[in-house]
Amino acid sequence: MSQQFVGDGDVADVLKLLGVEKSFSGQPAVTALDLAVPRGETCGLIGPSGAGKTTSIRIIMSILFPDAGKVEVLGRPSALDAKDRIGYLPEERGVYRKMRVGAFLKYLACLKGMPEALARSRARELLAKLGLEDVEKKKCEDLSKGMLQRVQFVGAIVHQPELLILDEPFGGLDPVSVRLLKGVISDERRRGTTILFSTHVMAHAEELCDRVVMIHKGRKVLDEPMSSLRRRYDPTRVLFEPLDPKANLDGLRDIAGVVSMQVKDGEAELQVAAGTDPSMVIREVAARVVPARVEIARIRLEDVFVGIVRSDAKSGESEQALRQHLQGLTGGAA
């Protein structure tokens, strides 16, 4: 599967946006968006529904045209000039209901300039990878929703694109399909494909991204590699759950390096002083109270996001709604 891309190979940033603006009948949807995605990177465009993710992606795809600003895709001024090298899975995706799956995928691949025979074999291979071995001859309308979404995903990558743009690829998918899809996305990553995908579920981004770009109300509020994000939000918290829920946790406050402790629902969260090795704290905690679970709190994008937009989440209730949305528990706009 490894394959070297030729032509425009020296373009460092596969995708570049500069000061992009777009509004719909006076209502700004995207404001002053800058974005640069280097070759081979997997970038997550995250934010709640209505943040402007789909609009940004449609601008990148030249389906919408920005009111102001510049777009550069694969070294070209418009995605229209590089369509054959881009794979795109729109959020609202459809199929020709009466068309057979194999014919539909072949049609899409041929439109992207792939020879017919290669298109057919590649479609077959990808369908098999996504657990759809025997649907090639079936009509699209005869498939279940989950199967259809996997077919649509195959449609986006069948022509072996250099740049893959996925708008909410996991939206409405069952867990099995999500797992299969993530597997194929990882394969594409290994192949060297540059990937931009949007999601409102932070866990997906944490799992797949090299870098995250957060959008809130049309503005970019964060653009950082996951690695630096993890460093920046230094692991200074230790989560502890005692085996005996009634255990007395007060003794934990005295551990060297612990600044404060909060107990909630029988679980303690210890704030560790900067510069203190959290693993030392963990050892000490486990020695004092028998643990059911003790771990270093990992950075959660959800917390980062909520932290950034806290000013908008005025009441506890709306913050909780936003968190549920970011966890993928609710689909609608936050």
């Binding site: 229209l80 729109p90 459809g94 020709y96 209901r97 049609y107 992207k112 649509q152 986006a156």
Partner: protein, 452 residues
């Protein structure tokens, strides 16, 4: 892949999907078959009409001059002779006339029995007899009252007295017609004779059969098919209409389907809106051409059948294709724009209304323009898109074809019209393909086209 490659792929898919759909197969193949079957069957059905009936005619002859003459005129031999004379006349109109004669002149002829009543018998006394229902399935009754002055005028009167025919509801129309014809004939003969003329001389003098018109053209004398010539402009209108509707309707529905199924955004990742539009336009053009071709071929076969193909200028078919292309591009582009503007088929209906009107009016005008091909209306409308394709086709097929420069100018006007329509559709296509929700009005669509 280049632009033309993508357009070709889209067009091919569009064409194949359309021609393999049930609606197309029905419209293109089954409809003509049904029409042909009807043409074959209807004459037979007409012949079925009216089982042979026997009409008993009660005759009160107050003129005392007609009883034997009427009996003779209604004898089976005389009735058959009259009918055959009519058939011969129709048959002179050519091969098509023979078919018509077979169709409208049924094989079963009613028979008549004349019952002479005394001159002083009254109609009232016979009403019971007339209305008697127990006379059997095939028996019918009628009563004729002939006044005293029907053959000889009373002194000082301007005209003759006229007969009265009394009949119950069940007297068949053809029997009634034969009865009236026979009465008129015997009255004419007797009136002429009583006025001192020889009826045979008068008949010979007044019997002038209609002579078929010989058409003269620069190529010499041609055998005429006037009826066909008069129909031709209208037939051209029908063919244009069928071709445009076949392609245009499918264009609209397939675009709405792509929008409502949301497959359009997937497509837009592979092709530009303009490429998609041209692909669809060309694909359905192929469908329209197939539809047109089937109907033209049927027409040619029908003409060959009646040995009338020589009456049609083959150039007419070439012009039909040219003006079909123009009409298709204009109407097809408009229907495409409607398809792109709405999200559901139901929403398309209100926008299709004006377009259908714009299509129906020129089609109706082919009647008028074909009859008066040199009128100011005909000439002017030859240069105004979108009417011009229909107007020019009607004139080309008419008895007085327009000069070549007018045809070429009409083609030019058509091309300009088609360019404007396609431009309009392209603008709408770009703006509206991803819009969902409330369908726009025409005013909104024009605004979209202006600001893009």
């Amino acid at each position: 892949m280049n632009m033309f490659g993508r357009i070709r792929l889209v067009a091919t898919r569009e064409f194949l999907v359309a021609v393999s759909s049930k609606g197309f197969l029905f419209g293109i193949l089954v409809m003509p078959l049904i029409m042909m079957a009807l043409i074959a069957v209807i004459p037979k059905l007409l012949n079925q009409r009216g089982t042979q009936v026997n009409v008993e005619v009660a005759f009160i002859d107050q003129s005392a001059a007609l009883s034997s003459a009427l009996g003779a005129e209604l004898s089976p031999a005389a009735v058959a002779e009259t009918r055959n004379a009519g058939r011969r006349e129709v048959q002179q109109m050519g091969a098509a006339g023979r078919q018509v004669a077979d169709a409208v002149l049924p094989e079963s002829v009613p028979t008549f029995t004349v019952k002479n009543l005394p001159a002083n018998a009254t109609v009232d006394s016979q009403k019971q007899w007339l209305a008697d229902g127990r006379i059997g399935k095939r028996a019918r009754r009628a009563l004729v009252l002939m006044p005293a002055d029907a053959v000889v005028r009373t002194e000082g009167a301007a005209g003759y007295g006229n007969y009265r025919l009394y009949a119950p509801r069940n007297l068949p129309a053809d029997a009634e017609g034969i009865l009236h014809g026979a009465l008129r004939k015997v009255l004419t003969v007797e009136r002429l004779r009583s006025a001192g003329f020889d009826p045979l001389v008068v008949k010979a003098a007044t019997d002038i059969p209609r002579s078929p018109t010989k058409l003269v053209s620069p190529n010499g004398e041609e055998q005429g098919a006037q009826a066909l010539n008069r129909m031709l402009p209208f037939i051209m209108g029908v063919l244009l209409f069928i071709g445009v509707m076949t392609g245009g309707q499918a264009l609209m529905t397939s675009t709405v389907e792509e929008k409502s199924s949301r497959v359009v955004e997937v497509l837009l990742a592979a092709v530009s809106p303009l490429e998609l539009m041209w692909g669809k336009l060309l694909g359905q053009l192929g469908v329209g051409l197939v539809g047109l071709g089937v109907y033209v071929a049927l027409g040619v076969v029908a003409l060959l059948q009646f040995a009338m193909f020589g009456f049609i200028d083959p150039m007419l078919i070439l012009w039909l294709v040219v003006f079909f292309l123009i009409a298709y591009l204009v109407y097809g582009a408009l229907m495409l724009a409607v398809g792109a503007a709405v999200s559901q088929i139901a929403d398309a209906q209100s926008l299709m209304g004006p377009i259908m009107l714009l299509l129906m009016v020129p089609y109706m005008l082919t009647f008028v323009i074909g009859a008066t091909p040199d009128s100011a209306l005909a000439v002017a409308s030859s240069f105004i898109p979108p009417v011009n394709a229909f107007a020019m086709m009607a004139r080309l097929a008419s008895s007085s074809p327009p000069p070549v420069w007018q045809v070429l100018l009409s083609v030019l006007a058509g091309i300009v019209g088609a360019c404007i329509a396609v431009w309009f559709a392209a603008r709408i296509f770009r703006v509206a393909l991803l819009m969902h929700g409330k369908p726009p009005s025409f005013a909104t669509m024009i605004k979209w086209a202006r600001i893009g």
